[in-house]
Amino acid sequence: MTRELLSRIAETLYWIGRYVERADDIARLLDVALRRALAGEEDGTAVFAILGHKGAGPQTAETMVGRLAYDATDPGSISGCVRAARENARGVREIISSETWECLNVTWNELPAMRAAAERLGPHHYLRYVRERSAMFFGLADGTMSRDDGWRFIVLGRSLERADMTSRLLAVYHASVSGPPSPASPTWRLLLEACGADESFTRTHRGDRSKVLEFLLLDRLFPRSVMHALATAEQCLAELAPHHGRAGMADAARAAIGRVRMTLEYADTASLPEQLPGLLAALQEAGEAATLAITDRFFQHTAPAGWVRGGSSWAGV
């Protein structure tokens, strides 16, 4: 029997999943961008656009790393995400296993030392650490948490964040993965590396670069593909609130995700590059709709009461 979760805790777990995944994704993204910058192909504009920092002009590698990795006051930076995940975890210590809490706590405590080391050894050192720790967190969660609603909210947050980030990544770099082959540009390979998909892709498609888009978007087996993330999110939602109606779908979040997954499921792989802008827009829209619906359905804690001193409603009390 699974136990109900407090709404506040469900929301916190969901956001821990999102923040840890986001820290991981930004680290991956930044790694790609920095290596592109070395090749003179990247000035940071694209990366900032992916992460939703509007109107950021060209950046040097140092300012890019400074803002996107080290600046803990910026909630959109790696260290900001680690901090948020850790603060959230601190609020639900009695729910998550102590190993997972310790993992986030130690990660946050070690970041300054990692930054100092990265300033000598290069940012890769820092980015690699963040990726390892996020893998460790999800590994520990996987190994130590019961498969109850708490676990599902963490996985749900992670999956939605992952689908979102992978599609953003494709949105910005799709020219270099779908355009005519330009052997000088290593971006498509870097993209695969950023998603940890390098080996898996090579084994599946033998390095046929026309399949990169298909792999990151539609592959049913690769865990960082958009398709896989959506399927996982849908599964979580189905388990969180089973729907027993004979027709239709009462759960708005599941409906939004299910519809866009179906579009991807039966997409024509041959004309994928042409459809991409439309698919990505639909993905963004579905992600937003799902987030709203989840908040609405599960995270409705009561707002703190606002008291009016001497108000007439007090007369009866």
């Binding site: 210590r93 009695e94 729910i95 405590n109 009461a305 001193r309």
Partner: protein, 507 residues
């Protein structure tokens, strides 16, 4: 290399470990033998490791908006079986007395009719809540922390009672865990009474306190939130008991029943172990602007649908002026003499005593009667002139608000400062859990240590640390290896198939 205790100089107080320089007391001989050969480097290294365990686990308290690790000293404090027996009996006696007193205060108030305690003390107590009058309760003090010190002659004294929301038990549990990881050898050589029974006992007592009509009660821990100084403890207790840790905003009251808001709607709550002060608990009755509690809690408790632990209004019993009456109350309710005496205290309401105290402020300790956490305490012999002058004014303006005590040089215990043990003052807070039939004591309790030299206030908010507290069992310590655990060796038919596979791989 010199042994670590060789340069240990006793301070001008009772030393817990040494009878005289170089000669440890009997209870400490095992510990002394284990620690003495360790070099200063070794000791320092272990201390750093210990601090690291705490930082990683997030064993912190919030001080001035900042999370700080609670310093744990490497050298444990040891109580032998006889000492512990005395403390345990004295605390039980004290808890039963305060329980009876509170039942009276919020019931018939016979003790005041009989003139044992003057009425004005009740009416002037800031923690006497009329709103709590007549709320049914089998138990009011579910959890108590009675602070005990040892004076210059080695006698125990009760320093103060805490029957509102005594904190610190989490450090007892974490200290033991950290110590057994860092210095496992110490525990192999002598048996120490374990502390891990606490969460089970606490949950048992809380469940037993549930309203009568509930067969399978839901217990929750109510915390003010992550910014509270003791948040770590609230989360730990909830985790160890396997119950929800709720904040005020997770609760709603409807028709005098309390619910928590979950992802599957509202679920009833029957017992609230609250770590929120009375004043913030229910904006309908107390501070109207509090968002830490939940409106309607008190009415639900009055209707008998929820139990609040500890009960609302307990502060009237740990008022430091009531403290001076506890020996009288003991005689009145139990017909017993205190097993452990109070520190000599003076009530300032009597004009002659007041004048005498004002003339001797420099030789007394003055405490605000409703203070907690060491706030506002003035230690006369150490206070500068200006402090004494403003103190005199404050006391003259509100004699009911203060109590005077003889300054006691708290006993000292060797504590690692830098890389050497030095004498530092300590106290003891044993924790008692009262389930209505029995008052159970966690063996040991929290030993707090004042880390600055000569400092007498041990609270964590005043730069205090803590020590693992050992209670030795009744029989003499048994040197030598512990008996082998049954079943530690694999049974004969066990086939280590996986390691066989690895062997094959390595070839």
């Amino acid at each position: 290399m010199a042994d670590i205790f060789d340069s240990y100089a006793l301070a001008d107080a009772w030393d817990e470990m040494f009878e005289r320089p170089g000669v440890p007391r009997p209870a400490y001989q095992g510990l002394f033998a284990a620690l003495q050969p360790l070099g200063a480097d070794e000791l320092r290294y272990r201390a750093d490791q210990l601090a690291r365990v705490f930082t990683d686990r997030g064993v912190t308290f919030d001080y001035a908006g900042e999370e700080r690790p609670f310093p744990l000293d490497l050298i444990p404090r040891v109580l032998d079986a006889a000492e512990w027996d005395l403390i345990a009996r004295a605390v039980r006696q004290r808890v039963r007395t305060l329980e009876a007193f509170l039942d009276d205060v919020y019931g018939t108030r016979q003790v005041f009719h009989d003139g044992v305690v003057p009425w004005r003390l009740l009416h002037s107590s800031p923690h006497f809540h009329r709103a709590a009058d007549g709320i049914p309760a089998r138990v009011r003090v579910h959890i108590a922390g009675i602070d005990i010190i040892r004076d210059e002659n080695g006698d125990f004294r009760v320093l103060e009672d805490n029957v509102r929301t005594p904190s610190g038990v989490s450090y007892v549990l974490e200290n033991r865990l950290a110590m057994s990881r860092t210095l496992p050898a110490l525990f192999a050589e002598q048996r120490v009474r374990p502390v891990d029974e606490y969460p089970g006992r606490l949950l048992g007592a809380l469940r037993k306190a549930a309203p009568d009509h509930v067969t399978d009660p839901t217990v929750v821990v109510l915390t003010p939130g992550v910014y509270n100084a003791a948040y770590f403890e609230h989360a730990l207790l909830a985790r160890l008991m396997g119950v929800e840790l709720v904040e005020g905003r997770d609760l709603v009251c409807e028709n005098n029943r309390v619910y928590m808001v979950t992802t599957h709607g509202k679920r009833p709550v029957h017992v609230i172990y609250r770590r929120v002060d009375d004043e913030y608990l229910d904006p309908l009755h107390f501070r109207w602007d509090s968002t830490l509690g939940c409106p309607g809690l008190l009415n639900s408790a009055r209707s008998g649908n929820v139990t609040i632990a500890n009960a609302v209004g307990n502060g009237v019993a740990d008022d430091k002026l009531i403290y001076t009456y506890v020996p009288d109350l003991m005689k009145y309710y139990l017909g017993e003499e205190p097993l452990i005496a109070n520190v000599e205290s003076y009530r300032l309401e009597d004009p002659d005593t007041l004048e005498w105290a004002l003339g001797n402020l420099g030789a007394l300790v003055l405490k605000p009667v409703d203070g907690a956490g060491g706030k506002g305490i003035v230690i006369g012999p150490r206070a500068p002139e200006e402090t004494l002058a403003s103190l005199a004014e404050a006391v003259r303006a509100d004699p009911r608000g203060w109590v005077a005590q003889r300054p006691v040089a708290l006993s000292t215990s060797p504590s690692l400062i830098g890389d050497r043990p030095r004498p530092r003052h300590i106290d003891l807070r044993p924790f008692a859990v009262n389930d209505g039939d029995d008052v159970w004591l966690l063996p040991g309790g929290l030993t707090r240590v004042a880390l600055p030299e000569g400092e007498l206030v041990v609270n964590s908010s005043q730069g205090g640390g803590s020590k693992d507290t050992w209670v030795l069992p009744d029989e003499p310590a048994r040197p030598g290896p512990a008996p082998a655990l049954a079943g530690a060796a694999p049974p004969a038919h066990w086939e280590p198939s996986r390691s066989a596979a690895w062997d094959a791989e390595q070839q």
